[in-house]
């Protein structure tokens, strides 16, 4: 019934001699929301960066909506698979206005007309609740606003899958909520999402499954309730005792 959005099969990844991902397998169904957590250096960011081929995996298979992504053909796979990505450091383009940031990819990748792209951009900027900042430059916005622009920018490509790489880690505490609210809204609309985050409240509220990674392996995988109530693995228990 439910179709697979992302299928990761026995993926390995090395940085030189360092084995970052060890035989990772993961299936994400369409509309599913996955939260990945774990200590730093556990490979969680690398995993989602392999999914949209910012990093190339060395062994195993990754398929997006049934199409295998082949290392070296990143561009093609991305344009087809409609994966949006939000980064820890926002990575907005500082030399462009908010609106230009949002219309860039629709115009140049999807060959949309400028007017059409601007309409879509305005719609998404409204959805992330910053419609009045369209003509400002990223440097003039707060961190929370910048991250919401980054979300809007990714949404303008109408992705079916959204990847979030620690989207709130670089934010001041008072700005975390405004970004999480946008993400919760997105989750409620049925977007397939994978979030690497330490926001356990968010995980509990939206995640269908929580995945705990340590030293390049998936150590524990469970629904939020069981994950928080009865962690089975010692490393998970230790981690939870530190973050909760």
């Amino acid at each position: 019934m439910t179709k697979s959005a992302i299928l990761v099969e026995n993926v390995d990844k090395w940085y030189g001699d360092f084995h970052v991902l060890k035989n990772i397998s993961l299936n994400v169904n369409q509309g599913e929301k996955i939260v990945i957590c774990g200590p730093s250096g556990s490979g969680k960011s690398t995993l989602i960066r392999c999914i949209n081929q910012l990093e190339e995996h060395n062994a195993g298979r990754i398929s997006i909506e049934g199409h295998e992504v082949i290392p070296g053909q990143r561009h093609k796979a991305l344009a087809r698979g409609h994966i949006g990505m939000v980064f820890q450091q926002f990575n907005l383009f500082p030399h462009m206005t908010v609106l230009e940031n949002c219309t860039l990819a629709p115009i140049w990748v999807q060959k949309m007309s400028r007017k059409e792209a601007e309409n879509i951009a305005h719609r998404y900027l409204e959805r992330v609740r910053i419609p009045d900042q369209a003509d400002k430059y990223p440097g003039q916005l707060s961190g929370g606003q910048q991250q919401r622009v980054a979300i809007a920018r990714a949404l303008c490509m109408t992705p079916r899958i959204m990847l979030f790489d620690e989207p709130t880690s670089a934010l001041d505490p008072e700005m975390i909520k405004e970004v999480l609210d946008v993400m919760i809204e997105l989750a409620n609309e049925g977007m397939t999402m994978i979030c690497v985050t330490h926001e356990m409240g968010f995980a509990r509220q939206v995640a269908d499954r929580i995945i705990f990674m340590d030293e390049g392996e998936i150590v524990e995988e469970n629904d939020p309730e069981s994950f928080f109530a009865n962690p089975t693995n010692d490393r998970t228990k230790l981690f939870l005792s530190q973050v909760l």
């Binding site: 949209n52 910012l54 990143r74 561009h75 991305l78 344009a79 994966i83 949006g84 990505m85 980064f87 450091q89 990575n91 907005l92 383009f93 500082p94 030399h95 860039l104 990819a105 140049w108 990748v109 430059y137 990223p138 440097g139 003039q140 980054a150 920018r153 990714a154 490509m157």
Partner: protein, 360 residues
Amino acid sequence: MLTTLSFNNAIHWMRENLFSSVTNSILTILSLWLLWTIGSGAWSWLIWDATFVGSDRTACLKPEQGACWPFIEAKIGQFIYGRYPDAERWRIDLLFFISFFGFMPLLMPSAPFKRVNLLFMVFVYPIVAFLLLSGGMGLEYVETSLWGGLMVTLVVAITGIVFSLPLGILLALGRRSNLPIIRWSCISFIEIFRGVPLITVLFMASVMLPLFLPEGMNFDKLVRCLIGVALFAAAYMAEVIRGGLQALPKGQYEAAHALGLGYWQTMRLIILPQALTIVIPGIVNTFIGLFKDTTLVLIVGIFDLLGIVQLNFTDSSWATEQTAITGYVFAGTIFWVFCFAMSRYSIFMEKRLATDRKDN
């Protein structure tokens, strides 16, 4: 009331800033003495003891003679046009005029019709410039061996500037390419051209290159020099631009890739606009170096501004003790004006881009 107040202020300011301690006072007096010596010397040589009117060397022979300005006046035509035939000099004037009104609006961010302007400068201007300078289409053909003076300086400098920037960008990108053949070729090119003196490049271009070319295939000496200068400057430009590329955070590349932009789109839309802005001072520095290096074309027998000024020192009807130094001061001033203008323009652009974008 007001005057006493400002007088008191001035005294106060001087005490604070110029004479606050014994060392400071000594330095102040020393500096004033230096300024006075240089200033008064310059004043008397440039103006007070200088000759302004005259028709030959006899005007510039008085004791304690300063600058011999009539020499410049008499030779100004040569200094600007070289040995370009008198009857055809209107073509150079026309080209100066077209260049000025072609480049100026392009350099002014607020000027309208940028696109038309750019298309004109890229597609029409080079053809017009070529026809006006060397002839053809009804215009009398003028050999490049007759070209000289400021006109050659500008031709070499502008061609060098116009070609070295795009070439430098390509080399810089190539040096960071993932494709080994492209990367190695770019590194070799850059390191070879950066590792040899420009004089060597010019010699190679004018003397050695014809030896390698097949019989009968020979192009103009000036053109060969232009190519040499452009390639030489491109190697420097590439390294300047590489600095800008490396200064950009990796996240910019990743964000562009995550949005599905291809390599050239990423470079053109995201990376280069930012990287070039960062290295404007370095780019202009290279341009200024290039502009002054044009004087080296003298070595292969092309007379640029400095070359033609020097050539005229041998004219016996203007041989005085002050002729050479007057000529050098004149040439130096012209070079300085152009370089200073470039420097000011770069500062203007930096400020403008900084306020435009307000990055953080």
